[in-house]
C-alpha cells in the first residue's frame, strides 16, 4: 500500500526526489560553482594567513608609502593611483564579460559576443601588464621575498620589520595574476571558437557563461586582495 503511494507521488512534489537538479542549473555550471567555492578557500587561506601574520607585528608597511608610483611619472609620489587604474581595468573587463554572456544567452548574437569577449581579453592582458610593471618596480625598489626597504614604513624602520610582507605580496598577487592569465588563455580559446561559429552550431552559448563565472570570481578575489594589501 505504502509502496504504491510512493510510486504514485509525482516527483515534482519534492525537489530532492530525483529526476531533476535541485540547483536548477546545468551540470557544467554546477561544476564551475563547485570549483569556485573550493577556490575561494584557496584564496581565503592565503588572506587569512596574511591577516594572522599582520596581527603578529607591531608595525606594518603603510600602503600609501609602498604603492606610490605610476609609469612615466618617475619621482612623483602618487599613492594608490596605479592600483586604482588596475582595479578599474578589472571591473571594466568584468562588465565586458557579463555583456558577452548576456548577448550569448539572450540574443545568441555571435558578433556582439565576439566583440565583448575581445574587450575582455584586452582588459585581462592590460591588467597583467600593469601587474608586471608593479612587480618590476617593487623589486627594483629593493623588495624581496624576505625583506622590504625602510621607505615602505614611511621612513623609520621599526625594530621588528615584517619578514613575510614580500612573501605574502608576491604569492597572493601572483596566485591572483596566475588566475587572470588562465582566464585570458581560456577566453582566447573561446573567442576563436565563437568567431568560427562553434556555439551557433551547438545552438548554446553556455560555455561563455561558465568562463564568465570564473572571470567574475577573479574580479571578486581582487576586491579582497585590494582591500588587504592596498587599503587596510
Amino acid at each position: 500500500m505504502s509502496a504504491e503511494m510512493t510510486l504514485d507521488t509525482p516527483a515534482t512534489k519534492n525537489i530532492w526526489n530525483g529526476g531533476r537538479s535541485p540547483f536548477k542549473v546545468s551540470w557544467g555550471k554546477l561544476m564551475m560553482w563547485y570549483f569556485l567555492v573550493g577556490d575561494s578557500f584557496s584564496f581565503g587561506t592565503f588572506l587569512i594567513t596574511y591577516g594572522a601574520l599582520r596581527f603578529s607585528y607591531d608595525a606594518w608597511p603603510n600602503p600609501n608609502d609602498v604603492f606610490n608610483s605610476f609609469p612615466f611619472f618617475e619621482g612623483v609620489k602618487l599613492p594608490l593611483m596605479f592600483v586604482s587604474l588596475m582595479t578599474f581595468i578589472l571591473i571594466m573587463s568584468s562588465v565586458t564579460m557579463v555583456l558577452a554572456v548576456h548577448y550569448g544567452n539572450h540574443d545568441k548574437n555571435r558578433k556582439k559576443v565576439a566583440t565583448w569577449l575581445l574587450f575582455t581579453i584586452i582588459g585581462g592582458a592590460l591588467f597583467l601588464g600593469c601587474q608586471a610593471w608593479e612587480w618590476t618596480h617593487l623589486i627594483r625598489e629593493g623588495m624581496t621575498l624576505h625583506s622590504i626597504p625602510a621607505e615602505f614604513y614611511g621612513g623609520h624602520q621599526p625594530s621588528y620589520p615584517s619578514a613575510a610582507f614580500g612573501w605574502l605580496f608576491f604569492t597572493i598577487t601572483g596566485f591572483h595574476g596566475f588566475h587572470v592569465l588562465i582566464g585570458v588563455v581560456i577566453n582566447i580559446i573561446i573567442f576563436l571558437k565563437v568567431i568560427q561559429g562553434y556555439y551557433d552550431r551547438k545552438d548554446s552559448y553556455e560555455m561563455i557563461e561558465k568562463i564568465g563565472l570564473y572571470w567574475h570570481f577573479v574580479d571578486l578575489v581582487w576586491v579582497f586582495v585590494f582591500m588587504a594589501f592596498y587599503l587596510l
Binding site: V25, W33, T49
Partner: protein, 114 residues
C-alpha cells in the same frame, strides 16, 4: 542538450533585452564609485583619527562590492534557492578561520619579548 534548457530558462526569466544590460551598467557604476570613495578615504583620512573606523568602512564596502559581483555579474541572485545556499553556506567556515587566526596572530604579538 537536455542540460542546456536550465540556463536559457533562467536567463530569460530575469530580464529581457535591455533590462539586464541596464542592470549590468548600473552595477558597474556602483562598483566604480565605491572604489573611488574607498581610495579617497584612504588618502584623506587623518593619521591621528582612530584607524578602526576606517578599517570597518573598508571591510563593509568590500563586502558590498562582493555582493554586487556575486549577485549580479555571477547571476547568483537569480538562481535557485539551493544553489545560493550551496555557495554561501561554506563561506561561514572562512569567517570562523578569520576570527580564530586573527586572535592567534594577536597573541603572537603579545608573546614577543618573553
Amino acid at each position: 542538450m537536455k542540460q542546456d534548457t536550465y540556463t536559457n530558462a533562467a536567463a530569460t526569466t530575469v530580464a529581457d533585452g535591455n533590462g539586464m544590460v541596464k542592470t549590468i551598467w548600473r552595477t558597474f557604476w556602483i562598483l566604480l564609485i565605491v572604489t573611488i570613495v574607498e581610495v579617497a578615504c584612504a588618502l584623506i583620512y587623518p593619521a591621528s583619527a582612530p584607524r578602526m573606523i576606517l578599517n570597518v568602512f573598508f571591510i563593509a564596502m568590500s563586502l558590498l562590492k562582493a555582493i554586487y559581483i556575486v549577485g549580479v555579474f555571477m547571476h547568483l541572485k537569480f538562481e535557485a534557492k539551493f544553489l545560493i545556499m550551496l555557495v554561501l553556506l561554506p563561506t561561514i567556515l572562512l569567517l570562523y578561520a578569520v576570527a580564530i587566526m586573527l586572535t592567534e596572530g594577536n597573541s603572537w604579538l603579545n608573546m614577543q619579548g618573553y
